[in-house]
Protein backbone atom coordinates (compact mmCIF):
# COMPACT_ATOMS: atom_id res chain seq x y z
CA UNK A 1 0.00 0.00 0.00
CA UNK A 2 1.19 3.51 -0.76
CA UNK A 3 1.03 6.00 2.07
CA UNK A 4 0.87 5.80 5.81
CA UNK A 5 -1.47 3.68 7.83
CA UNK A 6 -1.33 3.41 11.61
CA UNK A 7 1.55 1.22 12.79
CA UNK A 8 0.23 -1.48 15.09
CA UNK A 9 2.99 -1.48 17.72
CA UNK A 10 4.06 2.17 17.88
CA UNK A 11 1.99 2.78 21.03
CA UNK A 12 3.57 -0.28 22.67
CA UNK A 13 7.05 1.15 22.04
CA UNK A 14 5.96 4.48 23.50
CA UNK A 15 4.49 2.79 26.59
CA UNK A 16 7.63 0.73 27.13
CA UNK A 17 9.80 3.83 26.66
CA UNK A 18 7.77 5.79 29.21
CA UNK A 19 8.07 2.95 31.74
CA UNK A 20 11.86 3.12 31.42
CA UNK A 21 11.79 6.92 31.77
CA UNK A 22 10.02 6.52 35.11
CA UNK A 23 12.62 3.91 36.08
CA UNK A 24 15.44 6.34 35.25
CA UNK A 25 13.83 9.12 37.26
CA UNK A 26 13.30 6.77 40.20
CA UNK A 27 16.98 5.83 40.10
CA UNK A 28 18.01 9.49 40.13
CA UNK A 29 15.67 10.26 43.02
CA UNK A 30 17.13 7.30 44.90
CA UNK A 31 20.62 8.71 44.33
CA UNK A 32 21.67 5.72 42.26
CA UNK A 33 24.52 6.49 39.84
CA UNK A 34 25.82 9.92 38.90
CA UNK A 35 26.07 12.41 40.62
CA UNK A 36 26.16 10.23 43.75
CA UNK A 37 28.58 7.86 41.99
CA UNK A 38 31.33 8.51 39.48
CA UNK A 39 30.33 9.10 35.82
CA UNK A 40 32.08 5.86 34.88
CA UNK A 41 30.71 3.80 37.79
CA UNK A 42 28.62 0.71 36.93
CA UNK A 43 25.62 2.37 38.64
CA UNK A 44 25.91 5.32 36.24
CA UNK A 45 26.14 2.90 33.32
CA UNK A 46 22.82 1.42 34.46
CA UNK A 47 21.22 4.86 34.55
CA UNK A 48 22.66 5.99 31.20
CA UNK A 49 21.51 2.83 29.38
CA UNK A 50 18.04 2.95 30.90
CA UNK A 51 17.71 6.45 29.44
CA UNK A 52 19.49 5.90 26.12
CA UNK A 53 18.10 2.48 25.21
CA UNK A 54 15.00 2.02 27.36
CA UNK A 55 13.50 5.46 27.02
CA UNK A 56 14.99 7.32 24.04
CA UNK A 57 15.80 4.50 21.61
CA UNK A 58 12.50 2.77 22.34
CA UNK A 59 10.47 5.92 21.55
CA UNK A 60 12.56 6.77 18.50
CA UNK A 61 12.19 3.22 17.15
CA UNK A 62 8.41 3.36 17.70
CA UNK A 63 8.20 6.73 15.97
CA UNK A 64 10.34 5.53 13.04
CA UNK A 65 8.15 2.47 12.52
CA UNK A 66 5.26 4.89 12.09
CA UNK A 67 6.93 7.72 10.23
CA UNK A 68 9.50 6.12 7.92
CA UNK A 69 6.65 4.84 5.71
CA UNK A 70 5.32 8.40 5.72
CA UNK A 71 8.73 9.89 4.95
CA UNK A 72 9.30 7.62 1.96
CA UNK A 73 5.74 6.85 0.85
CA UNK A 74 6.13 3.06 1.11
CA UNK A 75 4.76 0.56 3.60
CA UNK A 76 7.19 -1.15 5.97
CA UNK A 77 8.79 -4.28 4.57
CA UNK A 78 7.71 -6.14 7.70
CA UNK A 79 5.01 -4.81 9.96
CA UNK A 80 5.18 -8.09 11.88
CA UNK A 81 8.86 -7.55 12.70
CA UNK A 82 8.03 -4.72 15.10
CA UNK A 83 6.95 -6.86 18.05
CA UNK A 84 9.94 -9.26 18.18
CA UNK A 85 12.21 -6.19 18.07
CA UNK A 86 10.44 -4.76 21.12
CA UNK A 87 10.94 -8.07 22.95
CA UNK A 88 14.61 -8.40 21.98
CA UNK A 89 15.42 -4.81 22.98
CA UNK A 90 13.69 -5.19 26.34
CA UNK A 91 15.31 -8.54 27.13
CA UNK A 92 18.71 -7.28 25.93
CA UNK A 93 18.48 -4.13 28.03
CA UNK A 94 17.53 -6.07 31.17
CA UNK A 95 20.44 -8.50 30.68
CA UNK A 96 22.81 -5.58 30.09
CA UNK A 97 21.62 -3.78 33.24
CA UNK A 98 22.01 -6.96 35.31
CA UNK A 99 25.51 -7.29 33.83
CA UNK A 100 26.35 -3.76 34.99
CA UNK A 101 25.03 -4.59 38.46
CA UNK A 102 27.27 -7.67 38.46
CA UNK A 103 30.16 -5.46 37.40
CA UNK A 104 29.47 -3.18 40.35
CA UNK A 105 29.39 -6.10 42.78
CA UNK A 106 25.67 -5.80 43.47
CA UNK A 107 25.11 -9.24 41.94
CA UNK A 108 27.38 -12.30 41.81
CA UNK A 109 30.07 -11.82 39.15
CA UNK A 110 27.94 -13.01 36.24
CA UNK A 111 29.78 -10.88 33.72
CA UNK A 112 28.65 -13.13 30.86
CA UNK A 113 25.36 -11.21 31.19
CA UNK A 114 27.04 -8.30 29.39
CA UNK A 115 27.71 -10.11 26.09
CA UNK A 116 24.32 -11.84 26.38
CA UNK A 117 22.69 -8.42 26.71
CA UNK A 118 24.59 -6.86 23.81
CA UNK A 119 23.89 -9.88 21.61
CA UNK A 120 20.15 -9.54 22.21
CA UNK A 121 20.34 -5.78 21.67
CA UNK A 122 22.29 -6.20 18.44
CA UNK A 123 19.71 -8.72 17.25
CA UNK A 124 16.86 -6.33 18.10
CA UNK A 125 18.42 -3.20 16.65
CA UNK A 126 19.68 -5.23 13.67
CA UNK A 127 16.21 -6.52 12.81
CA UNK A 128 14.82 -3.05 13.27
CA UNK A 129 17.46 -1.42 11.07
CA UNK A 130 17.06 -4.09 8.38
CA UNK A 131 13.33 -3.40 8.27
CA UNK A 132 13.84 0.36 7.96
CA UNK A 133 16.73 0.18 5.47
CA UNK A 134 14.92 -2.30 3.20
CA UNK A 135 11.83 -0.09 3.27
CA UNK A 136 13.94 2.87 2.26
CA UNK A 137 15.71 0.84 -0.42
CA UNK A 138 12.37 0.29 -2.13
CA UNK A 139 11.66 4.00 -2.04
CA UNK A 140 14.79 5.44 -3.62
CA UNK A 141 15.57 8.26 -4.25
CA UNK A 142 15.33 9.25 -0.61
CA UNK A 143 13.85 12.36 0.92
CA UNK A 144 16.19 14.51 3.00
CA UNK A 145 14.72 13.46 6.35
CA UNK A 146 15.12 9.79 5.44
CA UNK A 147 18.82 10.32 4.78
CA UNK A 148 19.26 11.59 8.34
CA UNK A 149 17.61 8.43 9.61
CA UNK A 150 19.98 6.35 7.49
CA UNK A 151 23.05 8.09 8.91
CA UNK A 152 21.51 7.75 12.37
CA UNK A 153 21.19 4.00 11.82
CA UNK A 154 24.82 3.82 10.70
CA UNK A 155 25.74 5.54 13.97
CA UNK A 156 23.58 3.02 15.84
CA UNK A 157 25.61 0.28 14.18
CA UNK A 158 28.87 1.89 15.31
CA UNK A 159 27.50 2.38 18.84
CA UNK A 160 26.41 -1.24 19.04
CA UNK A 161 29.70 -2.54 17.65
CA UNK A 162 31.70 -0.57 20.22
CA UNK A 163 29.31 -1.55 23.03
CA UNK A 164 29.60 -5.20 22.03
CA UNK A 165 33.38 -5.10 22.09
CA UNK A 166 33.29 -3.50 25.58
CA UNK A 167 30.95 -6.22 26.79
CA UNK A 168 33.20 -9.03 25.58
CA UNK A 169 36.27 -7.32 26.99
CA UNK A 170 34.61 -6.75 30.39
CA UNK A 171 33.41 -10.34 30.49
CA UNK A 172 37.01 -11.43 30.00
CA UNK A 173 36.67 -12.79 26.49
CA UNK A 174 38.48 -9.93 24.77
CA UNK A 175 42.06 -10.04 23.50
CA UNK A 176 44.49 -7.15 23.78
CA UNK A 177 42.78 -5.39 20.86
CA UNK A 178 39.37 -5.27 22.52
CA UNK A 179 40.94 -4.31 25.82
CA UNK A 180 42.64 -1.34 24.16
CA UNK A 181 39.28 -0.26 22.68
CA UNK A 182 37.70 -0.61 26.13
CA UNK A 183 40.42 1.49 27.74
CA UNK A 184 40.05 4.47 25.42
CA UNK A 185 36.93 3.98 23.36
CA UNK A 186 34.07 4.77 25.76
CA UNK A 187 33.82 8.42 24.64
CA UNK A 188 33.52 7.21 21.02
CA UNK A 189 30.62 4.92 22.03
CA UNK A 190 28.90 7.85 23.76
CA UNK A 191 29.44 10.24 20.84
CA UNK A 192 28.13 7.70 18.31
CA UNK A 193 25.10 6.87 20.44
CA UNK A 194 24.09 10.23 21.79
CA UNK A 195 25.37 12.46 18.99
CA UNK A 196 24.93 10.10 16.06
CA UNK A 197 22.04 7.72 16.52
CA UNK A 198 19.81 9.70 18.88
CA UNK A 199 20.58 13.28 17.84
CA UNK A 200 20.91 12.90 14.05
CA UNK A 201 17.78 10.75 13.90
CA UNK A 202 15.85 13.20 16.06
CA UNK A 203 17.05 16.04 13.83
CA UNK A 204 15.95 14.24 10.67
CA UNK A 205 12.52 13.35 12.00
CA UNK A 206 12.09 16.86 13.42
CA UNK A 207 12.58 18.43 9.96
CA UNK A 208 9.57 16.52 8.72
CA UNK A 209 7.38 16.70 11.81
CA UNK A 210 7.97 20.42 12.39
CA UNK A 211 7.23 21.19 8.73
CA UNK A 212 4.11 19.04 8.87
CA UNK A 213 2.75 20.38 12.16
CA UNK A 214 3.50 24.06 11.41
CA UNK A 215 2.66 23.96 7.71
CA UNK A 216 6.10 25.23 6.78
CA UNK A 217 7.71 24.62 3.41
CA UNK A 218 10.27 21.81 3.69
CA UNK A 219 13.84 22.91 4.33
CA UNK A 220 15.71 23.43 1.08
CA UNK A 221 17.29 20.09 0.23
CA UNK A 222 20.72 21.62 -0.40
CA UNK A 223 20.73 23.17 3.06
CA UNK A 224 19.58 20.08 4.93
CA UNK A 225 22.07 18.04 2.93
CA UNK A 226 24.89 20.31 4.11
CA UNK A 227 23.73 19.87 7.71
CA UNK A 228 23.66 16.11 7.27
CA UNK A 229 27.06 15.99 5.56
CA UNK A 230 28.69 17.91 8.39
CA UNK A 231 26.86 15.73 10.92
CA UNK A 232 27.97 12.54 9.18
CA UNK A 233 31.51 13.87 8.95
CA UNK A 234 31.48 14.60 12.70
CA UNK A 235 30.48 11.06 13.36
CA UNK A 236 32.89 9.46 10.90
CA UNK A 237 35.69 11.58 12.31
CA UNK A 238 34.90 10.63 15.90
CA UNK A 239 34.51 6.89 15.32
CA UNK A 240 36.97 6.17 12.50
CA UNK A 241 39.48 8.79 13.68
CA UNK A 242 39.16 7.64 17.26
CA UNK A 243 39.68 3.96 16.42
CA UNK A 244 42.63 4.84 14.20
CA UNK A 245 44.17 6.83 17.05
CA UNK A 246 43.64 3.91 19.44
CA UNK A 247 45.19 1.51 16.94
CA UNK A 248 48.22 3.78 16.57
CA UNK A 249 48.41 4.19 20.35
CA UNK A 250 48.13 7.94 19.90
CA UNK A 251 46.15 10.26 22.15
CA UNK A 252 42.54 11.06 21.32
CA UNK A 253 42.79 14.79 22.05
CA UNK A 254 43.07 15.89 18.42
CA UNK A 255 40.11 13.68 17.46
CA UNK A 256 38.00 15.22 20.23
CA UNK A 257 38.87 18.79 19.22
CA UNK A 258 37.98 18.13 15.56
CA UNK A 259 34.79 16.30 16.58
CA UNK A 260 33.80 19.22 18.78
CA UNK A 261 34.36 21.74 15.98
CA UNK A 262 32.29 19.69 13.51
CA UNK A 263 29.65 18.95 16.14
CA UNK A 264 29.19 22.65 16.89
CA UNK A 265 28.97 23.34 13.16
CA UNK A 266 26.27 20.63 12.78
CA UNK A 267 24.24 22.10 15.64
CA UNK A 268 24.59 25.61 14.17
CA UNK A 269 23.49 24.47 10.69
CA UNK A 270 20.57 22.56 12.17
CA UNK A 271 19.65 25.63 14.22
CA UNK A 272 19.62 27.72 11.05
CA UNK A 273 17.33 25.22 9.29
CA UNK A 274 14.95 25.02 12.25
CA UNK A 275 14.72 28.79 12.72
CA UNK A 276 13.73 28.92 9.06
CA UNK A 277 11.01 26.31 9.61
CA UNK A 278 9.56 28.40 12.44
CA UNK A 279 9.88 31.71 10.56
CA UNK A 280 8.24 30.48 7.34
CA UNK A 281 5.39 28.60 8.99
CA UNK A 282 1.86 29.20 7.75
CA UNK A 283 0.26 28.15 11.03
CA UNK A 284 0.80 31.34 13.01
CA UNK A 285 -0.32 30.13 16.44
CA UNK A 286 2.03 27.46 17.68
CA UNK A 287 0.52 24.27 19.03
CA UNK A 288 1.87 22.90 22.29
CA UNK A 289 4.14 20.35 20.61
CA UNK A 290 5.92 22.98 18.53
CA UNK A 291 6.14 25.58 21.30
CA UNK A 292 7.58 22.98 23.71
CA UNK A 293 10.00 21.83 21.00
CA UNK A 294 11.43 25.36 21.24
CA UNK A 295 12.52 24.59 24.84
CA UNK A 296 14.12 21.35 23.69
CA UNK A 297 15.94 23.18 20.89
CA UNK A 298 16.99 25.86 23.39
CA UNK A 299 18.41 23.08 25.57
CA UNK A 300 20.42 21.83 22.60
CA UNK A 301 21.75 25.34 21.98
CA UNK A 302 22.52 25.73 25.70
CA UNK A 303 24.35 22.38 25.71
CA UNK A 304 26.53 23.54 22.84
CA UNK A 305 27.34 26.85 24.53
CA UNK A 306 27.99 25.13 27.86
CA UNK A 307 30.18 22.52 26.21
CA UNK A 308 32.25 25.24 24.56
CA UNK A 309 32.53 27.21 27.80
CA UNK A 310 33.64 24.10 29.68
CA UNK A 311 36.18 23.25 27.00
CA UNK A 312 37.64 26.77 27.12
CA UNK A 313 37.78 26.62 30.92
CA UNK A 314 39.43 23.22 30.69
CA UNK A 315 36.85 21.50 32.91
CA UNK A 316 34.91 19.58 30.24
CA UNK A 317 36.01 16.20 31.57
CA UNK A 318 35.05 17.15 35.13
CA UNK A 319 31.60 18.43 34.20
CA UNK A 320 30.76 15.99 31.43
CA UNK A 321 27.96 14.47 33.50
CA UNK A 322 26.03 17.75 33.66
CA UNK A 323 26.62 18.36 29.95
CA UNK A 324 25.30 14.93 28.97
CA UNK A 325 22.38 15.31 31.38
CA UNK A 326 21.24 18.50 29.64
CA UNK A 327 21.59 16.88 26.20
CA UNK A 328 19.73 13.77 27.31
CA UNK A 329 16.90 15.30 29.31
CA UNK A 330 16.63 18.87 27.97
CA UNK A 331 17.18 18.28 24.27
CA UNK A 332 16.39 14.64 23.46
CA UNK A 333 13.80 13.80 26.14
CA UNK A 334 12.22 17.25 25.87
CA UNK A 335 11.81 16.85 22.11
CA UNK A 336 10.51 13.30 22.41
CA UNK A 337 7.92 14.27 25.06
CA UNK A 338 6.76 17.27 23.02
CA UNK A 339 6.39 15.19 19.86
CA UNK A 340 4.72 12.31 21.72
CA UNK A 341 2.04 14.73 22.81
CA UNK A 342 1.15 15.42 19.18
CA UNK A 343 1.85 11.98 17.72
CA UNK A 344 -0.33 10.17 20.27
CA UNK A 345 -3.20 12.58 19.62
CA UNK A 346 -2.85 12.38 15.85
CA UNK A 347 -2.54 8.59 15.64
CA UNK A 348 -5.42 8.09 18.07
CA UNK A 349 -7.57 10.47 16.05
CA UNK A 350 -6.66 8.77 12.76
CA UNK A 351 -7.21 5.29 14.17
CA UNK A 352 -10.57 6.13 15.76
CA UNK A 353 -12.13 8.47 13.25
CA UNK A 354 -10.35 7.60 9.97
CA UNK A 355 -12.77 4.79 9.07
CA UNK A 356 -15.88 6.97 9.49
CA UNK A 357 -14.50 10.33 8.44
CA UNK A 358 -16.65 12.10 5.86
CA UNK A 359 -19.63 9.90 6.66
CA UNK A 360 -20.44 11.30 10.09
CA UNK A 361 -19.28 14.41 11.95
CA UNK A 362 -15.99 13.69 13.75
CA UNK A 363 -13.98 15.67 16.32
CA UNK A 364 -10.81 17.52 15.26
CA UNK A 365 -7.38 16.35 16.42
CA UNK A 366 -7.21 19.31 18.78
CA UNK A 367 -10.46 18.19 20.44
CA UNK A 368 -8.52 15.23 21.86
CA UNK A 369 -6.17 17.40 23.91
CA UNK A 370 -6.40 20.16 26.52
CA UNK A 371 -3.27 22.16 25.85
CA UNK A 372 -3.45 24.71 28.72
CA UNK A 373 -3.48 21.87 31.25
CA UNK A 374 -0.60 20.04 29.56
CA UNK A 375 1.44 23.25 29.21
CA UNK A 376 1.85 23.42 33.00
CA UNK A 377 3.34 19.95 33.13
CA UNK A 378 5.73 20.67 30.28
CA UNK A 379 6.79 23.93 31.93
CA UNK A 380 7.40 22.02 35.18
CA UNK A 381 9.40 19.39 33.28
CA UNK A 382 11.76 21.84 31.57
CA UNK A 383 12.12 23.96 34.73
CA UNK A 384 13.08 20.84 36.73
CA UNK A 385 15.56 19.71 34.07
CA UNK A 386 17.26 23.10 33.93
CA UNK A 387 17.34 23.35 37.70
CA UNK A 388 18.77 19.83 37.92
CA UNK A 389 21.47 20.76 35.37
CA UNK A 390 22.42 23.83 37.39
CA UNK A 391 22.59 21.73 40.58
CA UNK A 392 24.87 19.23 38.85
CA UNK A 393 27.23 22.03 37.88
CA UNK A 394 27.09 23.32 41.44
CA UNK A 395 27.91 19.85 42.77
CA UNK A 396 24.71 19.73 44.85
CA UNK A 397 23.95 16.01 44.68
CA UNK A 398 21.24 15.95 47.41
CA UNK A 399 19.36 18.92 45.92
CA UNK A 400 19.68 17.27 42.49
CA UNK A 401 17.55 14.41 43.80
CA UNK A 402 14.81 16.87 44.70
CA UNK A 403 14.94 18.31 41.16
CA UNK A 404 14.75 14.75 39.80
CA UNK A 405 11.60 14.29 41.88
CA UNK A 406 10.21 17.40 40.18
CA UNK A 407 10.99 15.82 36.80
CA UNK A 408 9.14 12.68 37.78
CA UNK A 409 6.03 14.57 38.93
CA UNK A 410 6.03 16.58 35.70
CA UNK A 411 6.53 13.44 33.61
CA UNK A 412 3.62 11.78 35.42
CA UNK A 413 1.48 14.83 34.58
CA UNK A 414 2.45 14.66 30.90
CA UNK A 415 1.83 10.90 30.79
CA UNK A 416 -1.56 11.35 32.37
CA UNK A 417 -2.40 13.78 29.55
CA UNK A 418 -1.24 11.19 26.98
CA UNK A 419 -3.44 8.54 28.59
CA UNK A 420 -6.46 10.85 28.58
CA UNK A 421 -5.83 11.61 24.90
CA UNK A 422 -5.56 7.92 24.05
CA UNK A 423 -8.82 7.17 25.89
CA UNK A 424 -10.58 10.14 24.24
CA UNK A 425 -11.33 11.33 27.78
CA UNK A 426 -11.28 15.01 26.82
CA UNK A 427 -13.47 14.77 23.73
CA UNK A 428 -16.54 16.64 24.93
CA UNK A 429 -18.59 16.84 21.75
CA UNK A 430 -21.38 14.30 21.43
CA UNK A 431 -19.54 12.93 18.37
CA UNK A 432 -16.99 11.23 20.65
CA UNK A 433 -17.74 7.73 19.39
CA UNK A 434 -19.93 7.96 16.31
CA UNK A 435 -21.52 4.89 14.75
CA UNK A 436 -18.79 2.66 13.33
CA UNK A 437 -15.93 4.13 15.42
CA UNK A 438 -14.26 2.09 18.16
CA UNK A 439 -12.39 3.25 21.24
CA UNK A 440 -8.70 2.53 20.53
CA UNK A 441 -6.79 0.08 22.71
CA UNK A 442 -4.35 1.69 25.08
CA UNK A 443 -1.12 -0.13 24.29
CA UNK A 444 -1.37 -1.03 20.62
CA UNK A 445 -3.34 -0.10 17.53
Amino acid sequence: MIGGSVSKWTMSYFAMGIAWLFAAEALMIAGFGYPGADVAAPETLVLVHVVAIGWLSMCICGALLQFVPVLVGKALVSEAGALPVLGLLTAGLIALLLGFLALGGRLPPWLWLLPVGTTLLVAGFGLFAANIVMTMWRARPLAAAARFVLVGLAALGATAALGTSFAWALAGYGGSGLNAVLDAGIPLHAIAGLGGWLTLTAMGVSYRLLAMFMMSPDVDIRRSRTTLLVGAATLGLAVAGGLAAIAMRAGLDLVFVLTAVCGVATAALYGRDVVDLYRKRKRRTLELNTSMAVYALTSLAASVVLGLALAVRGSFAADIGAFVFLLGFGWLSGLVLAKLYKIVAFLTWLETYGPVMGRVPTPRVQDLVVEPRATKWFAAYFASVWLATALLFAGQAPAFRVAAFGMMVATAGIVQELLRTRMLADVTTNARLPQGAKLPRLLHS
Binding site: M1, I2, G3, G4, S5, V70, G73, R138, R140, P141, M212, M215, P217, K282, R283, F346, W349, L350, G354, P355, M357, G358, R359, T362, R364, V365
Partner: protein, 167 residues
Protein backbone atom coordinates in the same frame (compact mmCIF):
# COMPACT_ATOMS: atom_id res chain seq x y z
CA UNK B 1 2.98 -8.97 -32.49
CA UNK B 2 2.04 -5.81 -30.67
CA UNK B 3 3.96 -2.65 -31.45
CA UNK B 4 4.76 -0.43 -28.49
CA UNK B 5 5.11 3.33 -28.28
CA UNK B 6 7.86 4.26 -25.81
CA UNK B 7 6.84 6.73 -23.11
CA UNK B 8 9.60 7.63 -20.67
CA UNK B 9 8.20 9.60 -17.74
CA UNK B 10 11.38 9.45 -15.66
CA UNK B 11 12.67 12.90 -16.76
CA UNK B 12 9.24 14.44 -16.10
CA UNK B 13 9.11 13.03 -12.58
CA UNK B 14 12.70 13.95 -11.90
CA UNK B 15 11.83 17.54 -12.82
CA UNK B 16 8.98 17.39 -10.32
CA UNK B 17 6.34 17.23 -13.06
CA UNK B 18 3.12 15.22 -13.29
CA UNK B 19 3.23 12.69 -16.13
CA UNK B 20 -0.42 11.68 -16.15
CA UNK B 21 -1.46 13.97 -18.99
CA UNK B 22 1.53 12.87 -21.09
CA UNK B 23 0.56 9.24 -20.66
CA UNK B 24 -3.07 9.95 -21.52
CA UNK B 25 -1.99 11.91 -24.62
CA UNK B 26 0.09 8.91 -25.69
CA UNK B 27 -2.89 6.61 -25.17
CA UNK B 28 -4.98 8.87 -27.40
CA UNK B 29 -2.31 9.02 -30.10
CA UNK B 30 -1.62 5.32 -30.67
CA UNK B 31 -3.21 3.28 -33.41
CA UNK B 32 -5.72 0.52 -32.57
CA UNK B 33 -3.84 -2.60 -31.52
CA UNK B 34 -0.73 -0.65 -30.55
CA UNK B 35 0.56 -0.74 -26.97
CA UNK B 36 2.64 1.49 -24.73
CA UNK B 37 6.00 0.78 -23.18
CA UNK B 38 6.19 2.97 -20.06
CA UNK B 39 9.44 3.66 -18.23
CA UNK B 40 8.98 4.99 -14.71
CA UNK B 41 11.16 5.49 -11.62
CA UNK B 42 8.68 3.50 -9.51
CA UNK B 43 5.98 0.90 -10.03
CA UNK B 44 3.01 3.03 -11.18
CA UNK B 45 0.34 0.97 -9.45
CA UNK B 46 -2.48 3.58 -9.59
CA UNK B 47 -2.07 3.73 -13.36
CA UNK B 48 -2.83 0.02 -13.81
CA UNK B 49 -6.49 0.50 -12.91
CA UNK B 50 -6.84 3.50 -15.19
CA UNK B 51 -5.26 1.68 -18.12
CA UNK B 52 -7.37 -1.40 -17.49
CA UNK B 53 -10.38 0.88 -17.77
CA UNK B 54 -9.10 1.94 -21.15
CA UNK B 55 -8.69 -1.67 -22.28
CA UNK B 56 -5.00 -2.29 -21.63
CA UNK B 57 -3.50 -5.20 -19.73
CA UNK B 58 -0.22 -4.50 -17.96
CA UNK B 59 2.90 -6.53 -17.36
CA UNK B 60 5.64 -4.91 -15.32
CA UNK B 61 9.33 -5.71 -14.92
CA UNK B 62 11.82 -4.08 -12.61
CA UNK B 63 14.73 -2.92 -14.76
CA UNK B 64 17.15 -2.20 -11.93
CA UNK B 65 17.86 0.88 -9.87
CA UNK B 66 14.28 0.80 -8.60
CA UNK B 67 12.98 1.67 -12.08
CA UNK B 68 10.22 -0.17 -13.88
CA UNK B 69 9.23 -0.99 -17.41
CA UNK B 70 5.52 -1.56 -17.89
CA UNK B 71 4.06 -2.95 -21.10
CA UNK B 72 0.46 -1.88 -21.64
CA UNK B 73 -1.00 -4.26 -24.19
CA UNK B 74 -4.45 -3.84 -25.74
CA UNK B 75 -6.76 -6.56 -24.40
CA UNK B 76 -8.31 -9.03 -26.82
CA UNK B 77 -11.67 -8.77 -25.10
CA UNK B 78 -13.13 -5.38 -24.21
CA UNK B 79 -12.85 -4.34 -20.59
CA UNK B 80 -15.63 -5.43 -18.23
CA UNK B 81 -18.85 -3.54 -18.61
CA UNK B 82 -18.60 -2.11 -15.11
CA UNK B 83 -15.77 0.09 -16.27
CA UNK B 84 -16.97 2.75 -18.70
CA UNK B 85 -15.94 2.65 -22.34
CA UNK B 86 -12.44 2.99 -23.64
CA UNK B 87 -12.96 6.44 -25.14
CA UNK B 88 -10.38 8.90 -23.90
CA UNK B 89 -11.21 10.06 -20.41
CA UNK B 90 -14.10 7.63 -20.26
CA UNK B 91 -12.92 5.84 -17.16
CA UNK B 92 -12.02 9.05 -15.40
CA UNK B 93 -14.72 11.61 -16.20
CA UNK B 94 -14.22 15.31 -15.57
CA UNK B 95 -14.26 15.97 -11.83
CA UNK B 96 -17.70 16.61 -10.40
CA UNK B 97 -16.19 18.41 -7.42
CA UNK B 98 -13.10 20.60 -7.33
CA UNK B 99 -11.52 21.42 -3.97
CA UNK B 100 -8.73 23.85 -3.19
CA UNK B 101 -7.34 22.69 0.15
CA UNK B 102 -3.98 24.36 -0.07
CA UNK B 103 -4.57 26.87 2.70
CA UNK B 104 -6.15 24.46 5.18
CA UNK B 105 -4.41 23.19 8.31
CA UNK B 106 -3.80 19.44 8.23
CA UNK B 107 -5.65 17.16 8.69
CA UNK B 108 -8.56 19.32 7.47
CA UNK B 109 -7.78 18.64 3.75
CA UNK B 110 -8.16 14.92 4.41
CA UNK B 111 -11.45 15.39 6.26
CA UNK B 112 -12.87 17.51 3.44
CA UNK B 113 -11.75 15.17 0.67
CA UNK B 114 -13.27 12.16 2.42
CA UNK B 115 -16.50 14.06 3.04
CA UNK B 116 -16.68 15.14 -0.60
CA UNK B 117 -15.75 11.67 -1.84
CA UNK B 118 -18.69 10.20 0.04
CA UNK B 119 -21.06 12.36 -2.07
CA UNK B 120 -19.75 11.04 -5.42
CA UNK B 121 -21.92 8.74 -7.51
CA UNK B 122 -20.47 5.50 -8.95
CA UNK B 123 -17.46 6.23 -11.19
CA UNK B 124 -17.58 9.98 -10.57
CA UNK B 125 -14.41 11.85 -9.70
CA UNK B 126 -13.30 14.80 -7.62
CA UNK B 127 -10.07 16.72 -7.81
CA UNK B 128 -8.29 18.52 -5.01
CA UNK B 129 -5.31 20.83 -4.80
CA UNK B 130 -3.13 20.35 -1.73
CA UNK B 131 -0.02 21.86 -0.21
CA UNK B 132 1.56 18.42 0.40
CA UNK B 133 1.21 14.77 -0.47
CA UNK B 134 -1.72 13.42 1.61
CA UNK B 135 0.03 10.26 2.78
CA UNK B 136 -2.47 9.42 5.50
CA UNK B 137 -5.40 9.82 3.15
CA UNK B 138 -4.37 7.11 0.67
CA UNK B 139 -5.05 4.09 2.93
CA UNK B 140 -8.44 5.56 3.88
CA UNK B 141 -9.36 5.96 0.19
CA UNK B 142 -8.18 2.48 -0.70
CA UNK B 143 -10.07 0.94 2.21
CA UNK B 144 -13.27 2.51 0.85
CA UNK B 145 -12.62 1.23 -2.67
CA UNK B 146 -11.76 4.58 -4.23
CA UNK B 147 -9.08 4.87 -6.95
CA UNK B 148 -6.80 7.84 -6.84
CA UNK B 149 -4.10 9.48 -8.89
CA UNK B 150 -1.85 12.20 -7.60
CA UNK B 151 1.31 14.11 -8.22
CA UNK B 152 2.95 17.47 -7.90
CA UNK B 153 2.14 20.01 -10.59
CA UNK B 154 5.07 21.53 -12.52
CA UNK B 155 5.28 24.33 -9.92
CA UNK B 156 6.66 21.68 -7.57
CA UNK B 157 4.60 22.81 -4.55
CA UNK B 158 0.98 22.13 -5.50
CA UNK B 159 -0.15 18.54 -5.22
CA UNK B 160 -3.09 17.56 -7.42
CA UNK B 161 -5.15 14.58 -6.37
CA UNK B 162 -7.94 12.98 -8.38
CA UNK B 163 -10.23 10.53 -6.61
CA UNK B 164 -12.63 8.21 -8.42
CA UNK B 165 -15.55 6.55 -6.68
CA UNK B 166 -15.98 2.79 -7.16
CA UNK B 167 -18.25 2.07 -10.11
Amino acid sequence: MTEYLDVDVRPILRAGGEPFSVIMAAVDSIAPGQGIRLLAPFKPVPLFGVMAGKGFAHSETEIGGGEWQVLFTPMETPPPAAVPATSAGGAWPEPKIRLDNRELDPPEPMVRILAAAETLGPGETLSALLAREPVFLFPQLERRGFNWLGGFLPDGVTYELTVRAPS
